[in-house]
Symmetry: C2
Amino acid sequence: MRVLLVGAGGVGTAITRIAARRSFLDHLVVADYDLSRAEAAVAGVDDGGTRFSAARIDASDQAAVTALLVRERCDVLLNATDPRFVMPLFEAALAAGAHYLDMAMSLSRPHPERPYEECGVKLGDAQFERAAEWEKSGRLALVGLGVEPGLSDVFARYAAEELFDEIEEIGVRDGANLTVEGHDFAPSFSIWTTIEECLNPPVIWEKDRGWFTTAPFSEPEVFDFPEGIGPVECVNVEHEEVLLIPRWVDAKRVTFKYGLGDEFIETLKTLHKLGLDSTEEVAVGGTRVSPRDVVAACLPDPATLGERMHGKTCAGTWVKGTKDGEPREVYLYHVVDNQWSMREYGSQAVVWQTAINPVIALELMARGTWTGSGVLGAEAFPPQPFLDLLNAYGSPWGMRDQ
Amino acid sequence: MRVLLVGAGGVGTAITRIAARRSFLDHLVVADYDLSRAEAAVAGVDDGGTRFSAARIDASDQAAVTALLVRERCDVLLNATDPRFVMPLFEAALAAGAHYLDMAMSLSRPHPERPYEECGVKLGDAQFERAAEWEKSGRLALVGLGVEPGLSDVFARYAAEELFDEIEEIGVRDGANLTVEGHDFAPSFSIWTTIEECLNPPVIWEKDRGWFTTAPFSEPEVFDFPEGIGPVECVNVEHEEVLLIPRWVDAKRVTFKYGLGDEFIETLKTLHKLGLDSTEEVAVGGTRVSPRDVVAACLPDPATLGERMHGKTCAGTWVKGTKDGEPREVYLYHVVDNQWSMREYGSQAVVWQTAINPVIALELMARGTWTGSGVLGAEAFPPQPFLDLLNAYGSPWGMRDQ
């Protein structure tokens, strides 16, 4: 299998490092707008220069991406850029006759009149609209295949197949106890993206109602995370799983709650209250700046924090329902310790946990275990082979009955 | 009496309007860096053009201010600028042989090693160092004579003279229930200055220890403000009264607590945690800006909010001690209703409440009721004539036994 990886940031670099330890890949082209980033990612996995190469590419230039896919005879385009580039990369792969895989779906737009009640344009809508074209081409667009969405969707399918007869609610729950030495406040992921994600109207799915939205930070609950992380305050956040899971898994309700913690939630609310979340420029001493860019500039770059970071991050899917007539409740999860991921891969935990899942999916595609055509989420495929490979990669998943 | 008022912002404009209703002033020159602001303040009180005139002045240009005082034959310089200009204006008045009056004292600098335990340079230190020169010149520098400091210091002296035999603690307490229509968050005073004031180490005075500092927002307490304002969370803040009162009034302890409310306190803490309080420039998309300037640019200008503001602001002095062998506790206070100050003077409550006090002080100087030389605070003078004039101006003070 020959793969074009677009994006050599934290996640792209970790993907390269994980893929280097597996033999299924014949060739990986690592491409980035900044060639030196792509070259650095490749240099870190030097194996004689045969399996990895670097290229420069502008992810927004669809024709150039199609040409690169054709020139490099790639079977798959793996998108590790930020969500603004989903559509040009998705279309470039279709045009080149390649499969496609991403970790975040096309962007949403709030409902113009009732943003906190009804959906406007949903996450992934632009991609699902093109499903017939992908089916016709016989190619697979595997969307939302990182850790969340991605592994969380595999867990949902696994629960439906193996653990439950009937499911009342599937709730993805994400939490961590990561701290950064020397910083009072240092998010382990881009504050710019977090603001975008957290201040968009969160989406919920109910069987008798379909998709609908609520106000940001709604329905707070304290979720007890495993492996020593402990209780963290979680709130509804807009996330792909809510748009993906109901398409293939039968459940009465699907939610996503992010364990931001009350301090982080209050910080985001304060930024919003003061207008500091805005991307519209304001006049300041003879120049104009976007307040959200200023907030990002005041905080340390998350990619540089791995060495000073401590703690674990947990992604997982909580499921409530019945099995053999008895009520049941489980939490299927995956935990990464930052100390371990830094030692083993030189990548911080949040980035590494995202990166391992698309590599597993590529391996299942290369083996012919996951096959198909059209626009599909992880929950459209058999979950057991994916979970087995997670163990085989040395990063086991867990399950807690509760 | 001929007065040079420097600063035609919100407070300077309100001073002009209040002074226009009193006959003791022979002439008031309103001077500002921006001549149009000075002209606007004068135009608002047109009485035939004899008592008021406008001028342009750079408050940082000591020689130019001295020359203007001499040219206009002014008896007093009234400083209504921000505290950065205290020293040049104070020195200009001394050089011109004029009296001087301000509403905030020369700035502090934290202790270089132990900022939250010991004082460094204190508020007013630079002014008190020049006391001998003022005594020698026979001129009076009346420092810190707004509402707080100012009226609060008059209350402290009044309590010591009339209400107590022995005082355990004098605690200035400031609170409000002001809200602004159409804004989730709209401070009624400059956020830039508030950040400066609230993030400096708060100062406390104790008889057996002298002046010392604590961490910002220390010793939170809920104080119940009168006239319907109700309970507000107050915390220690650096303020002039703590530096002034112990010089002339006998008490075991002097504090200042600001009723910022828990929401405002959390907002300031969040800004500090994210580095958004900083005045050091950061690089943002090819330009450089001070984060604190960006915060100010995102919020509405407090001077423009009067029409949409509702509620009351309260300044006052809480005193605890004994009288005739019995324990006693009182709160002496002054409340301004924004609706009233807007209707009567077109000035918002916080600005108007500051402005009335220096006008009363000028009237007492003009009458010869308050006389002296050197650098003195309001508590160095008989308080009853001041409080009587406050009533006569139509803005009565109150007292609550508690």
